[in-house]
Symmetry: C2
Subunit: 420 residues, 2 copies
């Protein structure tokens, strides 16, 4: 029996998850990372800070998978019990780890906070654990092998996303890289402007018949993504297998709606499009209320392209900041093709940008009228050659969040289709 890890389950611990107070982003993060390593994830489980149910979930997960990754329950408080539960499962004692204690003391000195007695608990470790220093918080992460023939591995990580992400990337990935079996390569085909059923109707046969690579669709607020995943002995071969399926998909009717391969998001594709052409960008937002700016500036290095934006919620703000004419607002209304065009041109000129985009619409749940129901949105783009406006009629039953998100996505799509 080798010590390769082929399968894993993810076990998240925290009553706040079961109360719905926080969303389990850790499970998604860890799954992505394990997919990159070619480790198959069978299941996610979340349990509360309840020792009995934690013990049962751990036992159940270790029965089917080679590895369990836990998040949470390493904190300083009395109900943080993950380490103790895993140690008990593998029949290990807890002992004070002097190195970890020293680091925790230093951490408190450096951040100027007072170390409380309960923080010492975070330096107690099961005997035989491999410890991963935590540079981002007080709870070290750890790996413990046990079970029959030492073939089972449990990796315990802290709960806060801003700790688990860097620890995993910096410390756990290198640990796992030596213990994986085959190489799995995934590529994402990004589609905007075509629904999931329509995509499947065109390429259903390709999807159904694909075993290696597999083709899995999923949709997300107006977008469809196809994940093409191949498993092979080495990365180059797996990549080639993916590329050949992607080529087949691109040659169908779906091809014209593909805006990128592995480009993460529409905003990243739009940013890259503008960067390659040396064009600067500005945006004027009404109903999206800063979402376009926020999505652009989430990308580190956005400042190469993004000059700034105006969120003009009030009509007064549209006139003052963007020079939208009072007459336009009076004749056509704030939600109109004309206002969208003037907003896009206005922000482009105000900021001296090459490309300006604008969004004005009714995100709901209130504010709709019979002629302009909730979901009516105008998305504009302005370049030196003039303005273009796209009208969206989204379902008034969609949420405010959905309407805002799809509207912002359309602005990025218009940049990509601008012909610049």
């Amino acid at each position: 029996m080798d010590n390769k890890i082929r399968s894993a389950e993810i076990l998240c611990v925290g009553t706040e998850l079961l109360l719905g107070d926080i969303v389990n982003t850790n499970a998604a993060f860890l799954s992505q990372k394990l997919a990159e390593l070619g480790i198959c994830v069978y299941k996610h489980t979340a349990v509360g800070d309840n020792p009995e149910r934690l013990k049962a979930a751990l036992r159940c997960a270790l029965e089917s998978a080679d590895m369990v990754i836990t998040s949470g329950g390493l904190g300083p408080t009395y109900d943080d019990l993950t380490k103790e539960t895993v140690a008990e499962h593998f029949g290990r004692q807890m002992e004070l780890d002097a190195h970890s204690l020293c680091r925790i003391e230093e951490y408190f000195k450096k951040t100027g906070r007072v170390m409380t007695e309960n923080n010492r608990k975070q330096a107690m470790m099961p005997k035989g654990a491999v410890i991963f220093d935590n540079d981002y918080g007080t709870a070290p992460a750890l790996a413990l092998c046990g079970g029959e023939g030492n073939t089972k591995t449990v990796i315990m990580l802290p709960g806060p996303p801003n700790e688990i992400i860097p620890i995993f990337n910096e410390k756990v990935m290198p640990y796992l890289e030596g213990r994986r079996n085959s190489v799995i390569v995934s590529r994402n085909v990004h589609i905007f402007g075509m629904g999931e059923s329509a995509v499947e109707n065109v390429i259903g046969e390709i999807m159904k018949k694909s075993e290696n690579p597999t083709v899995a669709p999923y949709c997300k607020e107006g977008e469809v993504r196809l994940r093409v995943t191949a498993s092979a002995a080495d990365g180059d071969e797996a990549r080639k297998m993916c590329d050949s399926v992607i080529e087949r998909i691109s040659n169908t009717e779906v091809g014209q709606y593909i805006y990128g391969i592995d480009c993460e998001t529409l905003e990243r594709a739009a940013l890259e499009f503008l960067r390659q052409r040396g064009l600067s960008f500005a945006c004027a937002e009404s109903c999206t209320g800063g979402l376009i700016s926020k999505r652009m500036t989430e990308i580190s290095g956005a400042s190469e392209v993004f000059l700034g934006g105006c969120v003009t919620y009030a009509n007064e703000a549209k006139m003052r900041l963007l020079g939208v004419r009072e007459q336009t607002l009076a004749e056509h209304g704030a939600v109109s093709e004309q206002t969208a065009a003037e907003m896009a041109r206005g922000v482009r000129e105000a900021l001296g940008a090459d490309v300006g985009v604008s969004v004005t619409g009714i995100a709901g749940p209130t504010g709709g009228t019979p002629e302009k129901p909730v979901g009516t949105v105008f998305v504009g783009i302005s370049t030196k050659t003039g303005e273009q406006v796209r009208k969206l009629s989204l379902s008034p039953k969609k949420s405010r969040e959905y309407i805002r998100s799809v509207s912002a996505s359309n602005a990025f799509d218009m940049v990509l289709k601008s012909g610049l």
Copy 2:
């Protein structure tokens, strides 16, 4: 044996969850709703579109809980198998539901899309199911009771958040309200400016000794929330029990950091603060890049208070839109107390608002210098009586997202502490 539902597990189905392509927001949403109903959630599980593992997870969940709520796997494609699996578990046949088929046909007619043959599958239902019409998509939701003495209930919901949320609120809540046992009331105490360990050090005794109500802490990007939960025969009594614990907490040192009870978010508290005083609001953002505007305008009705904002990423934009002086930028830099003050005043004047806030800083991961490392952020506020600026020195090891989020939160906190 009554037919009350006391406990539940949530079972989410979809390979995209296990690949980490989407975050499981449905589990959090359903948990919050079940907590409101006083139904205790034992566990969340997510499995792929794999019939064997779905069957095993369903069996395991129904062993311990009265009810299982599933999300996902009701779609039109060949790998959507939730209904079929539950029907098999309870020994039921599948049959065509004419009412659902008719509604699906209508849905396609109304949205102008073409109905494909595989959409018919969404009208096949297990015999004896209670069907909840889906006004937001093509897959109806359903409830099926079965097991020994018909004491187990499975509720099957579609996967997309923009379908599951309204269906649950409009159709499933009324169904469950008649089947709950006791009333549970939860109140959230919102704290900003004090860390989790520090809070627990002050009120640890209150937390540990509380059984009913319970007091559970959780932290989220610079905030700590205490969830106080009481169970009683009626709502009034449970509310009184919560209030008495909240009063005890407010009388400790923690009290001064409490910014609200059940106010959801800092931005909502700030919006409400301004609304009650009849004050209008504008914001100027550099490193937060639209996040303040986005968070404000996520709230329906924000337009009562929020006039607009400027995202001024480039120096040129700070000067053009906000009138920040070139000399200030040259002498003190874009990330400085002086620039923050001029940005806040500038946006207040540009938009004619009563209150202007500003953020300028280094969100990283690049752009730091020895004097101004990543995490250096200035947050300003301007009112008719002048400007105030708060300097943040967040850890350079924190993520860009964290630094942006905490910076925006500080801007809202400054509004609440403005003394207006």
